[in-house]
């Protein structure tokens, strides 16, 4: 997950996902020249954007001219394969998306959608960023986050466990644990 090996021309894919939401400001930010160049400088070769219900259409590019190759689609029944093949994930701040990515142990930049009312989503992204499990950014600061990120500083997220809750409920109700 560190720097790219120059002698091997393998794909390093950046996967952007907005889930089922409309998050035009993220898609727009990713589609800017400065963000695309920052990703290219960091050694990424492909940018795949899952744009959901957004109305802003990014510009496709084959990347033949020595830049990032860009492609997009709206929805997929399962983004698991895209996540698995990605070297970096840029995701909206939905908890399902965040934990699906962390489970696959992929480096992720979580972008909070400031246009949402009652933005409680930012609490989770900020807390996990504070614990160094991911990077947190806003669409306007995405470029700085990408340029300044150190993937080595990320700490793997240990998956949670629902058993303590189940045990508590069982004990409360009087069930004995074998």
């Amino acid at each position: 997950m560190g720097g790219s090996d120059d002698s091997v021309k393998s794909k390093r894919i950046v996967f952007v996902t907005v889930g089922t939401t409309c998050f035009d400001s993220l898609v727009r930010a990713v589609d800017t020249q400065e963000v695309r160049e920052a990703l290219f400088k960091k050694g990424y070769t492909d940018l795949v954007i899952q744009m959901g219900r957004g109305s802003y259409i990014p510009t496709k590019s084959t990347g033949e001219d020595g830049s990032l190759s860009v492609d997009y689609f709206t929805f997929s029944s399962s983004i698991a394969e895209y996540l698995k093949s990605a070297s970096l994930v840029i995701s909206h701040a939905g908890s399902g998306s965040i934990f699906e990515t962390l489970r696959l142990k992929k480096p992720v930049i979580v972008v909070v959608n400031e246009d949402l009312m009652d933005n409680h989503q930012s609490e989770l992204a900020e807390e996990l960023a504070e614990r160094n499990h991911l990077f947190c950014a806003r669409p306007q600061t995405l470029y700085q986050t990408i340029s300044g990120m150190d993937l080595g500083s990320l700490v793997a997220y240990q998956p949670g466990d629902a058993t303590p809750v189940a045990n508590f409920i069982n004990r409360f109700l009087g069930f004995n644990d074998e």
């Binding site: 908890s95 409680h120 989770l124 949670g160 058993t163 508590f168 109700l173 069930f175």
Partner: protein, 234 residues
């Protein structure tokens, strides 16, 4: 004897009697409510009970994923029959619950076939719905919730956040007060809630309508001491 009663009514007057009755009944209800709240927080049975009928409230997206995560580690023969309820406009949650139940049937050695039911409930309010029309839809939702609760009368209720759980929990609380059915209500706050409780969680916590409230981050435990911090479920 008759003289005493006729004196009573003519001196007191009907209005005073009515007021006394109202005060008396209100006091009884208040005492009963305090009794219910006090005993709700205490462990329920001292001996293992038989299987308990369980209502599981599912919400959209992340809520359902977290709930299914919890159900996967609970012994299904202790919690049956299971009633899954999702909002009428939620297409995915009941499907996912069915998938979970199918996998349980494959794994289980005990009889689990036929012990799960899948129901839909009207939502009080859709995202973005105007507050004016919300009054009407909330009343419809409350009536529907009452109808479902009368039919199911669960002994255990599991919920984790969506607004759909509020009418059900409130009705369950009143069933307890009225002695219709004692439900143990467990609320697991979503993992996405780190510093503040959701509106559902806050209401149920403040009104003391849940038996046990679980939070997944230590910050919430400090802020809401009566909550149980159990670490993360995801």
């Amino acid at each position: 004897m008759d003289n005493v009663y006729s004196c009573f009514f003519s001196d007191m007057g009907f209005l005073n009697v009515a007021i006394s009755l109202i005060i008396g009944i209100s006091t009884l209800i208040m005492i009963r409510i305090f009794y219910v709240i006090y005993w709700s927080s205490k462990p329920l049975y001292s001996k293992p009970p038989g299987p308990l009928s369980t209502l599981i409230v599912l919400g959209s997206g992340g809520h359902t994923a977290e709930m299914l995560n919890l159900l996967a580690v609970m012994q299904m023969d202790r919690f049956k029959p299971r009633y899954y309820i999702a909002a009428a406009t939620d297409n995915m949650s009941l499907q996912k619950a069915r998938v979970l139940e199918d996998s349980l049937i494959k794994k289980a050695e005990v009889e689990v076939v036929g012990t799960s039911h899948f129901l839909q409930i009207y939502r009080s309010r859709e995202v973005g719905q105007s507050y004016v029309t919300s009054v009407g839809t909330t009343l419809i939702a409350l009536t529907h919730a009452l109808w479902l609760m009368i039919k199911i009368r669960p002994q255990v209720i599991l919920c984790n956040g969506p607004g759909t759980c509020i009418p059900l929990c409130v009705i369950a609380f009143f069933f307890k007060v009225l002695g219709i059915r004692w439900s143990s209500i467990f609320y697991v706050e979503s993992i996405a809630r780190v510093r503040r409780l959701s509106l559902s969680g806050l209401l149920l916590y403040k009104l003391r309508m849940v038996d046990q409230l679980f939070v997944q981050w230590p910050q919430l435990k400090s802020k809401y001491p009566r909550a149980n911090y159990v670490g993360r479920l995801m």
